[in-house]
């Protein structure tokens, strides 16, 4: 057991070490002078803004000093996005599994909080936000271990055109790096080996999330709307593509490649604690304000717009899903309401900050309809076992959101040149499609390869006996609720 463990651990660690080593040697070789302010971009002066604020937006911030209000809001937003992973997502997902797997879900979340944070500092942030290498496929290695960053937190680079310390931008983005693989866990819940899950998420984060984040949000990312050289400048305010679409698509592949849970289709597998699912869903709702309104990078008008659109999409998503159930089976369910609110939130994620309140409401309605359809009709038609509907909600909702952003984006809110189809900008819709297509392709191919590798290294699925006993006992030697003493 122990030797096996060590072998596997070494294998995994080696992978990471190699990557870091490459980075340092590369850097040494290139001898790139890193500016004292920590700006790793080769050509200062040329505006290469990241994230979602840029010079054409409605709010032009002078990137010359730290603004305490913006900093306060981004500190809070970072905390809120962490809260989304746990307790938020952990409860939302945890309530949906059977009692014997509740700790398994929670363990996945907290280990991701530990592991992805560490990886982000070590190499992830660099892969995502350093200037492009490999023809734009991914960021370079110059910021490995936060190299070149002003770690006193006092520095401000022009790169992100933000009025908050670079370190804060780094940690805010870290929270996205934690939750995204967490979403995938919904697909392989109740049956994946813990070691496999750890290895899978580490690789997936570095090899899939980082490139896509680079494409969409890095200053020289090929789909970044703020990059003037981008041919297919996409709009993705807070991660419809980067977070939801690719995690959802990867989730579907996981569900298919791992196979169904034992007894799926015969034994009843109802949620063991819908009160947890409810608590989790409402915490996600609250935390999502950090996710979406925080993506403005400041406590400004765009943050407020994003906040309102986000809230309204959640509201109409809730009503829509529950309403469909009410109509179709005579009773609206709490699981339906919770699913609808999350679907609305997912769908508005790329659009928040770019759309009007009314459009936010429409997005929520569309999300409610398409995700309901995906989680019921489509899933039962194809028969895959996406345990907690990671694909049905995040994959489908994220895709819908990306496209709808291309339709409903309003230049009045998003800034000049960022209108969507309804404002006659059909190119934007095409760009959204292209960005989604490229991201989907990487997600599917990459996930396939990673799953194969992980399977070869440690095996993907828990043994039949372990699965029957439940992951809590078999993987962690604990039980969730012990009420007999």
């Amino acid at each position: 057991m122990k030797t096996q463990f060590i072998v596997r651990w070494l294998l995994a660690s080696t992978l990471l070490l190699v990557m870091s080593a490459v980075s340092f040697s590369q850097e040494a070789a290139e001898g790139t002078p890193v500016s004292p302010a920590g700006a790793p971009m080769p050509a200062p002066g040329i505006p290469i803004p990241g994230l979602t604020t840029d010079t054409s937006g409605p709010v032009v911030v002078a990137a010359s000093e730290i603004n305490s209000g913006d900093t306060a809001w981004m500190l809070v937003s970072s905390a809120l996005v962490l809260m989304m992973t746990a307790p938020g997502l952990a409860l939302f997902y945890g309530g949906l599994v059977r009692k014997k797997n509740i700790l398994g879900v929670m363990m996945q979340c907290i280990i991701l909080m530990g592991m992805m944070s560490t990886l982000w500092v070590v190499v992830g942030y660099s892969l995502a936000f350093d200037s492009s290498i490999a023809g734009g496929f991914v960021g370079g290695f110059k910021m490995v271990m936060l190299n070149g960053m002003n770690i006193s937190g006092n520095g401000l680079t022009l790169i992100h055109k933000l009025t908050i310390p670079d370190l804060l931008f780094m940690v805010y983005q870290m929270m996205f790096f934690i939750i995204t693989p967490g979403l995938i866990c919904g697909a392989f819940a109740e049956r994946m080996k813990f070691s496999a899950m750890v290895l899978f998420c580490a690789l997936w984060g570095l090899l899939i999330y980082c490139p896509v984040a680079h494409w969409v949000w890095a200053g020289d990312g090929m789909f970044n709307h703020a990059n003037q050289d981008a041919k297919f400048a996409a709009l993705d305010f807070a991660g419809g593509t980067v977070v939801h679409l690719i995690s959802g698509a990867s989730a579907l592949l996981c569900a298919i490649m791992l196979g169904k849970r034992l007894g799926f289709g015969q034994d009843p597998m109802p949620p063991h604690n819908l009160t947890y699912t409810f608590i989790g869903a409402t915490m996600l709702w609250v935390g999502w304000f950090g996710f979406n309104a925080g993506s403005a990078g400041a406590a400004n008008a765009q943050a407020v717009s994003a906040f309102v659109a986000t809230h309204l999409a959640a509201a109409t998503g809730t009503l829509t899903w529950a309403g469909i159930e009410w109509f179709k089976r005579g009773k609206p369910s709490i699981l339906g309401a919770c699913s609808g609110c999350v679907a609305g939130l997912v769908c508005v994620t790329p659009a928040a900050g770019y759309v009007t309140p009314t459009s936010g409401m429409i997005l929520g309605i569309v999300a409610g309809v398409v995700c309901y359809f995906a989680c019921t009709t489509i899933k039962s038609k194809f028969g895959y076992d996406d345990s907690l509907d990671a694909f049905g909600v995040h994959g489908v909702g994220g895709f819908a959101g990306a496209l709808l952003t291309g339709i409903f984006a309003s230049a009045e809110i998003a800034g000049e040149g960022k209108g969507g189809l309804i404002e006659g900008n059909s190119q934007q819709f095409v760009n959204q499609l292209v960005a989604c297509g490229a991201s989907l392709a990487l997600a599917v191919v990459g996930t396939f390869i990673i799953l194969k590798v992980v399977d070869a290294l440690v095996g993907l699925r828990a043994s039949q006996e372990d699965e029957i006993q439940g992951l809590d006992l078999s993987q962690h030697g604990e039980e969730g609720y012990i009420i007999s003493y």
């Binding site: 009843p268 089976r329 989680c375």
Partner: protein, 112 residues
Amino acid sequence: MKKIEAIIRHYKLEEVKNALTESGIQGMTVSEVRGFGRQHGHKETYRGAEYTVDFLPKVKLEVVVDDGDLQRAVDTITSHARTGQIGDGKIFVSSLDEVIRIRTGEQGGGAV
């Protein structure tokens, strides 16, 4: 001595308990069970996956009585647990070889 096991509805427990107490029965033990019978279960749907819950929550009441008290106890339970609707439950009566009160070691009728 006889053991009476009665499967009844939850919301009848309080009434049955009080009736038994009034009729002089001094001890009983209850547990949570799930029952399957003529009463239909219900359907629950979770994100479109519909399935039938056949087992319905019931309460099992166990009362040990002297042979002489049997009929009275059974009648008390029957009359107070009844609603007339399917699902009212069952009463099972069996014989015991021995009863012991742990605290005193008493056996037989006195131990009930």
